[in-house]
């Protein structure tokens, strides 16, 4: 059953990874790779699971496109961690994607609701 609940087109998730990351980074202010993966897992109740290593190339692409900014920070234990924050350009794109997603989701719901009578 769990498998059936988790079955979705992996391309669908891949195509929306950027939006998920942008949304979470925007909401969390600053976030690092591992924290983002945990957050996606928790918020989707374990529905969204992808190979954790793939989040870093995705973050790098967002950084290349000027949508997020990365910054190394030193932790109390001496280790370094890279934190990402959203840029103005990223925020603008996120608003566009959210609006698009809401319209799309409501249109899908309207079409796919069971026929009355």
């Amino acid at each position: 059953m769990a498998d059936a609940n988790r079955s979705y087109d992996s391309d669908l998730l891949r195509g929306n990874t950027d939006s998920l990351l942008l949304f979470l980074i925007n909401e969390m202010g600053q976030a690092y790779g591992y924290r983002l993966i945990k957050e996606i897992e928790v918020r989707s109740a374990g529905y969204f699971r992808f190979k954790e290593g793939t989040v870093y190339p995705a973050l790098r692409k967002l950084e290349n496109d000027g949508l997020v900014e990365g910054e190394w920070k030193k932790l109390p234990n001496g280790q370094e961690r890279r934190y990402y924050s959203i840029t103005d350009k990223g925020r603008g794109l996120l608003q566009e994607k959210l609006a698009m997603w809401r319209s799309f989701a409501s249109a899908m719901a309207l079409v796919m609701k069971p026929a009355e009578g």
Partner: protein, 323 residues
Amino acid sequence: MQAEVAVYLDEIRSHLHLDRETESRIISELYSHLQEKVAELQERGVSELEATREALASFGGARVIARLTYEAYSRGSWMEALISCQPHMIVAALFATHVWRQPVMVGAAFAAIVLIALLGSRRGTPTWSYSWMGYAVFPFLILTAMSWDPVVRTVTYVARGTGEPAPVWELALLGVLCVFSIWLVASTTVRSARRDWILASLMLLPIPVLAIWLLTVSHSDGFVVNLLRSFEVRFSRWDTAMAYFCATLGIASVLFIRVRQRVFKAGSVLAVGIVGGAAVLRSFWGGAGVLEILLLSLALLAFLTSPLLLRSIVGREAAARPS
């Protein structure tokens, strides 16, 4: 935990083909992730060994992660692409305007190329610098080709007893120049191949055609030094072909910088190097048949892919570095 993670991260690093500093940052970020995941699993009561295995399994295959990471990092900006194609365009302009017969202009152009290649080398050898490095070794090859006159004079004197032998200091200087030129080309190629054989191929791209052109024009009129002084118009018949060839290399280097996938990067270098090289060399020799063109193309393929073999022989930089 440390050993398994180190082996895993080393495998990722060995397939990244990026500059050392970028690779270190990437590996550091991935290591930090794995460490946190293992610590979290251990807090839940999982043994260290199991936690490490689970963390690595959920992270994904090393090669897949390396490929995705390479594609995310390997695409340069348009500015980098523009800088990368400049040496090809400079040399194309030298041919298109027939200025290559003016030693001062050629000297100034190559001095600028060597300077920018050195600057790139000091800045961690970014991808754009490889096309500059390819031309930067060429002045030393030209100097070596130009300096064969004393050797020929001495050999003629020893063999036939005619003429005068070159002074010992001149021969010694030539020996030093030869050794230095060979060392320069070999060490630059090995260093580039250790990072990525495709980058070494990009660097070597202009060398076979320019070297054969140099030999062809030298053969046509004795020594290059005489040729450069003579301003012979008849050699300009290859200038158009050479200008087009160098400009095509410029386009290939732009493609190389802008595409993400390795297969397309390698494809752009090999296609232009082989097809363009064979076409321009055919124009030198004229009347070459299908078999000759085929053999020439195979020789160019072998030359341009030689860094791949070199890399497997000399190993990789990362293997010699601590993780």
